[in-house]
């Protein structure tokens, strides 16, 4: 749940990047961190293993400016993608306002995407949240690999696997080059802020 401070007129919005391991969640945040350095007041926090895999989460806070006199503070988190870390993934999801599901478009990762999305569904249920109600954006990452001759799942397959029932906004992206990274972020911020506004009215 977002936290709203009426005294200082601040709204804190928690957005979590979720998805299978090595899918590009941290890369998304790193790109945002580099590109919007001026709006980001503090350093990106990364809790990772010696092998550079996310151990607990990455955290990146930034200011989005004002809406109706309220300062909007966006807090981006990633979860660890490795299968064994589900306990910590669950902890990061606590109080989430919006989720970006970063799917890996590589053909061989097809099953991992589906498994990860199912687990997201279960993890949200444990907080009495529903994957069908929470603001969610699908990001099909690594589409740039096509040019390098690596087999990538066509959009129709990804949509059918992951988004046929959810029917949420989706974008093809490449976190490493930055293609559609900002567009994904904008989409999830606006969905989350609208959803918070609706809850308040």
């Amino acid at each position: 749940m977002s936290f709203i401070n009426l005294k200082e007129k601040v709204v804190q919005v928690k957005i979590v990047y979720y998805g299978p391991g090595r899918g590009g969640k941290t890369t998304n945040l790193e790109f945002v961190n580099r590109t919007y350095r001026k709006q980001i007041l503090s350093e990106m926090v990364s809790l990772k293993t010696h092998g550079d895999r996310t151990l607990f989460f990455d955290f990146l806070p930034f200011d989005m400016g004002k809406i109706k006199g309220y300062d909007i503070k966006i807090q981006l988190y990633t979860v660890p993608g490795q299968v064994k870390y589900n306990a910590t993934r669950k902890l990061v999801l606590r109080g989430v306002d919006g989720i970006v599901f970063v799917a890996d478009a590589m053909e061989k990762q097809r099953e991992k995407n589906i498994r990860s999305l199912n687990q997201l569904h279960e993890n949200l249920q444990s907080y009495k949240e529903s994957i069908f109600k929470i603001p969610l954006v699908m990001q099909y990452n690594k589409v740039d690999l096509k040019e390098h001759g690596i087999p990538v799942l066509p959009l129709s397959v990804l949509q059918n696997d992951l988004n046929s029932r959810l029917k949420v906004p989706y974008l093809e992206a490449s976190a490493i080059t930055g293609y559609n990274v900002a567009a994904t972020l904008k989409k999830i911020i606006s969905s989350s802020v609208i959803s918070i506004q609706k809850k308040l009215l």
Binding site: S2, K7, P61, Q75
Partner: protein, 132 residues
């Protein structure tokens, strides 16, 4: 308690309690956060310059981890958490299921004295929530 939105009046009352009971005692910085890592309020002595937003995210993660460990060994919770350093120390105390009080302090305050005051502060803050 209408959690998620705190009234201006409630926040002002809490800020007064934090200043009177902890900052005046010599605590460098006090933060109240929720378990999702949001900052409810932060007070400091005017000298400390901590990045409180990152701190809140890490503290919530830390507390949640310890809580999960408690459950694994059959404890309901470890309600007290304390980190000791050379120059500064951090003390965590649970206010209720959603909120956490974090105090950062140097070597000039004893842990025992701080804990006595923290217990008092936590009780007073709970009363403010109950009034809602």
């Amino acid at each position: 308690m209408n959690y998620g939105i705190v009234s201006q009046e409630q926040l002002e009352q809490i800020d007064v309690i934090l200043s009177d009971k902890l900052i005046k005692l010599g605590v460098d910085c006090v933060i109240i956060i929720d378990m999702a890592g949001n900052i409810i309020t932060a007070k400091d002595n005017g000298e400390s310059k901590y990045d409180v937003y990152s701190f809140a995210a890490l503290a919530a993660g830390n507390f949640a981890t310890v809580d999960a460990m408690a459950k694994l060994v059959g404890e309901q919770e470890f309600s007290l958490l304390f980190h000791k350093g050379q120059e500064s120390n951090i003390h965590f105390s649970k206010i209720d299921d959603e909120l956490l009080l974090i105090s950062m302090f140097g070597q000039d305050i004893s842990l025992g004295f701080l804990r006595l005051n923290v217990v008092d502060v936590v009780e007073k803050i709970r009363k403010i929530w109950e009034k809602e």
